[in-house]
């Protein structure tokens, strides 16, 4: 009893902090590696965001990058005004949003349907072969997937165009035409991610109460009714949480993926914020535009942060689940 009271006392008040420090202080050692890496590769770049409010640093003329950044003149919000008056940035922003939206609207529902389908399907062989084949793409790198699909969609020799030609259709340059580029991005996303995302929903369905479905069956519910009124409502919380979190990552339209498929032909429909900031630094005509690139990145990060935190807040408030 006394001990419990003591613990209660320790939990509150200033003295208890010192006590806790004494008790657990040496555990701080365990933080060291992770904290060092976080500061070095996450927090120091965040400090570099001050570049967004300065002139482009003159790196060649100064002794070090830090000196160059510190020496650059403050320009306030000029960089932001500059980027938002640029057609290219607006185009990249629009593409980012469009591609993300397409991915959510088209790709997001498929794993749900697929999970229900696999769960209800009879025939072990076909179920197993579907499961085996659908997880593979997730474990490939975007570089490999890019190579596979660029060849598959090639205008002259690709399988898809061969089929189109066989049916008397014109050949289409899928990866080099502004009309089709976004659908390539969406369908490759589907190819890579569908199988993987299905796992979550399958687990959610397995966790459902089997008795409810049996009861519905006995009441004479048809297959569609069972799915519509029992299974779907059962996994609805999981779906809602996944959807909210997915919307939180809206600002990330998939840098690696778009980078792999990118070519100057499709700039109008495929240039996203990620590839744009990359080109500002790496492929700018004269000098790397660090300040502008940082400003775009800063905008992107802030919006992404708001979306993720907001999404998590909503999903915690209404569904009691979140990423933290």
């Amino acid at each position: 009893m006394v001990r419990i009271l003591k613990k209660e006392k320790q939990k509150t008040g200033k003295e208890s902090f010192r006590n806790q420090m004494k008790q657990h202080g040496n555990l701080f050692i365990f933080y060291i590696p992770a904290v060092v890496f976080s500061i070095l590769f996450a927090y120091i770049p965040m400090a570099g965001l001050i570049m967004a409010f300065k002139e482009n640093p003159n790196l060649l003329g100064s002794s070090s990058a830090i000196q160059g950044i510190l020496d650059a003149k403050w320009v306030g919000l000029d960089n932001f005004i500059k980027i938002f008056s640029k057609q290219e940035v607006l185009n990249a922003l629009r593409n980012t949003l469009i591609i993300s939206t397409l991915k959510i609207v088209i790709v997001f529902p498929i794993p749900i349907a697929l999970a229900i389908l696999i769960n209800e399907m009879r025939g072990k062989a076909i179920r197993k072969s579907l499961e085996v084949s659908m997880y593979i793409p997730y474990f490939l790198s975007w570089a490999t997937i890019g190579g596979i699909f660029i060849a598959l969609l090639n205008k002259d020799t690709g399988l898809v165009n061969n089929m189109l030609a066989y049916f008397g259709h014109d050949r289409v340059g899928f990866t080099t035409s502004n009309d089709t580029f976004r659908s390539v991005i969406v369908s490759t996303t589907a190819w890579k991610d569908i199988g993987w995302s299905t796992i979550t929903y399958m687990a959610a369905i397995t966790a459902l109460d089997r008795n409810q479905i049996e009861a519905a069956k006995i009441d004479g519910a048809s297959k569609w009714q069972q799915i519509r009124y029992v299974t779907l409502p059962g996994i609805m919380p999981v779906i809602a949480v996944m959807l909210i979190l997915r919307i939180g990552y809206m600002m990330d339209a998939g840098f690696e993926q778009v980078f792999v498929f990118y070519s100057p032909y499709i700039q109008a429909s495929g240039d996203i914020l990620g590839t744009y900031t990359y080109r500002l630094v790496r492929e700018a005509a004269l000098i790397p535009q660090y300040a502008l690139s940082t400003a775009v990145g800063f905008f992107n990060s802030v919006v992404a942060l708001i979306l993720v935190v907001g999404g998590n807040f909503i999903s915690k408030k209404f569904f009691n689940r979140g990423i933290w």
Partner: protein, 408 residues
Amino acid sequence: MIKNKVKAKLTKEERIKNHIRRAMFLCLMISLGILFAQFIDKRFSDSVKRGMDIAFVILWAAMTIEGVIRILRISKKSGFREYLKFDKAEFLYLIGSAVIVPASLFVPSFLGFRFICILKLPNVLRRYNDENVFQIIAKGIAVLLILFFIVPFLNVFANALSAPGQVINVVPKNIDLFAIKYVLADKAFLRSFGNSIFITLVGTLISVVSMAMAAYPLSKPHMPLRKTMMMFFMIVMLFSGGIAPNILLMNSLGLMDTIWALILPSVVMVYYLMLLKGFYESIPAELEESAKLDGANNFSILFKIIIPIASPMIATVSFFTAISYWNNINNSILYVTNNKSIYPVPMYIKNFLGQNPMEVAMNNPTLLTYWDGIKMSYILMSIVPIAIAYPFIFKYLKNDVSAGAVKG
């Protein structure tokens, strides 16, 4: 799942009826497919269009005849009104399509109206046992999906193994191993495998050890400054400095163009850190208390008690960390400018695919004819390690990850 193995014996008439139903279902599906193809894209050549039209009309005629026969039979049995009560959709469809389909042969703009045959769908479906319809549709979709996932791989395989200068889809023709041999003899490619293995092993080791350590104090409820440290790591996950500051940082650390630039930036993966923390929290505190009484210090508690208990979760985290290191091209895109000797496999492939064939084949013109095959052989070789590991991955996925995925 319980299987319905008991089959009632069917009379000959019923069996015929079943066949007709199946045939109707097939007709309907094919004609909808044709319509869909015609509708989403009007760039087919004229002869193909004509062929599609004819096929559609034949299918339509078959369905119509079956429908009319049914009307006659049912109205003879129980009156026309009874039929109309249950099959309004089909009747509507019959009347409507009798006008629209012949008209659409001559008036192209009527094409869209042919979608009226969707009205037939609920009717045909209702005539089946519910479960059977679902199974038919489910299996059809499953087969299509399997093709969707597998055909790209078959295409890579076929292209890598075939002699150049022919149309190759999914089956290799005139097997020619030149391209594969060329790729296997490419020393730089083999070195990129070495790089990838090094990056994956060292990266996973550093990453998992530092995360397994940091998760321990985070999981202690009475740890001082716990909230602050959580915040510290959450910010790492939620906010980033963007591309430019990271590149400048790598420059000033002197890590640019070194293999460490491909390992160190992604050491702390906060999501997995939180998974580990959650798992540690579920370990009963009594275990530690008793170890403490025995005089164990923090290090031996963590490494001898906590980590062995948490080994399933640590294995899962290591697995995903390793996968993300193996597949990462982000770091090599950003932090490698001209030192190609440190490229990991994915970046090597990305770089090779972007090359101009004319330059590579300068002193070896045969390469030019084999160019497509060589590209595909590189891709094939990059898939091989994953393919070898896949049976284990799959088994592992089925057992552990699917169970752990929901909890996290």
